[in-house]
Amino acid sequence: MPTIVVEVMPKAELLDPAGKAVAGALRREGGHPFSDVRIGKRFELTVDGAVTDAVLAQAQKLADEMLSNSVIEDVVKVTVLEGAVA
């Protein structure tokens, strides 16, 4: 069945303590060019039936109104999962 992926990130200006902790561990590790880490959420919505424009619009609405809180987060992606077999 097709899958729609929704990705949500904490707003850039807000504290991301989980990301900060991982970034701290990365700094201790050393030997790489990665200076920062931010952690967000990925939702995979399994779709009954075909993904039409209307279904994608529904997913976007769900992402905006329930899967994220616009006060603290941004929806950064709503896409159909590539390679998924319908």
Partner: protein, 232 residues
């Protein structure tokens, strides 16, 4: 007067809120998240805890539980609704109060007796306080940092909708030291600290008089009784 206390999966302080209502002289009524029945209560408390394990966001799933449809309707028609801690987060997620609550800026869970200043003593839940009164009630949360965009914050401050402010050290990075809010009508209030844990001598915060004698939280519940009587 009947005060309903909603129990969600993961609520912790529902019994404490019921007990606070009883000590204040009201009849506590246990309400269930999965029902569509407010059982004829006159006021509602959304208690503290970790509803749905804080999954998705604190309070987000509880805000969409069946009984919240009736709670939102009742709140919009003027019934007093108080959200404590997780209940405050539920009110924000249900859009009954603005803004958001995020992880404490220092990253740690805080549990302590907290000084507050009552910034709006003209709500259903605060009319027994003096404007500007300093009170002490327990605070215990990991995600109590209040945020809102600049425009919302200016509106909250300008319209007197900040109901409680932290005094002394800001415990969680809340903007403008905001501990709790009310709505325009003054019937809905939400705060991160826990008034229901400061209602009976022997079990409250320490005071200058005696250990654990603090009962500042009781005034929330006697206020809503007074509010109900004044409208009867």
């Amino acid at each position: 007067m009947r005060i309903g206390v909603v129990t969600f999966p993961g609520s912790l302080d529902d019994r404490d809120a019921q007990r606070a209502a009883r000590i204040a002289g009201a009849e506590p009524v246990a309400l269930w998240h999965g029902d569509h029945d407010l059982q004829g209560v006159d006021a509602i408390v959304l208690p503290g805890g970790f509803s749905y394990g804080d999954y998705l966001r604190c309070g987000a799933i509880a805000a969409r539980s069946p009984i919240m449809r009736e709670v939102v309707e009742a709140a919009n028609s003027g019934m007093p609704v108080l959200g404590i801690c997780n209940g405050f987060q539920v009110l924000v997620e249900a859009h009954l109060l603005p803004g958001g609550l995020i992880r404490n800026d220092h990253g740690d869970f805080v549990c302590r007796d907290q000084g507050l200043r009552v910034e709006n003593a003209d709500t259903a839940w605060t009319n027994g306080f003096e404007q500007g009164q300093q009170i002490t009630v327990p605070l215990k949360n990991g995600e109590g940092g209040f945020i809102a965009d600049a425009e919302t914050l200016a509106r909250l401050e300008g319209e007197g909708l900040v109901a409680f402010r932290y005094t002394g050290l800001n415990p969680n990075g809340s903007l403008n030291d905001i501990a709790g809010l009310t709505n325009e009508r003054g019937n809905v209030a939400g705060l991160m600290p826990h008034p229901e844990h400061a209602v009976e001598p022997g079990f409250g915060p320490d005071t200058d008089v005696a250990m654990r004698s603090g009962i500042d939280g009781l005034t929330f519940f006697t206020s809503v009784l007074r509010h109900a009587l004044s409208r009867a």
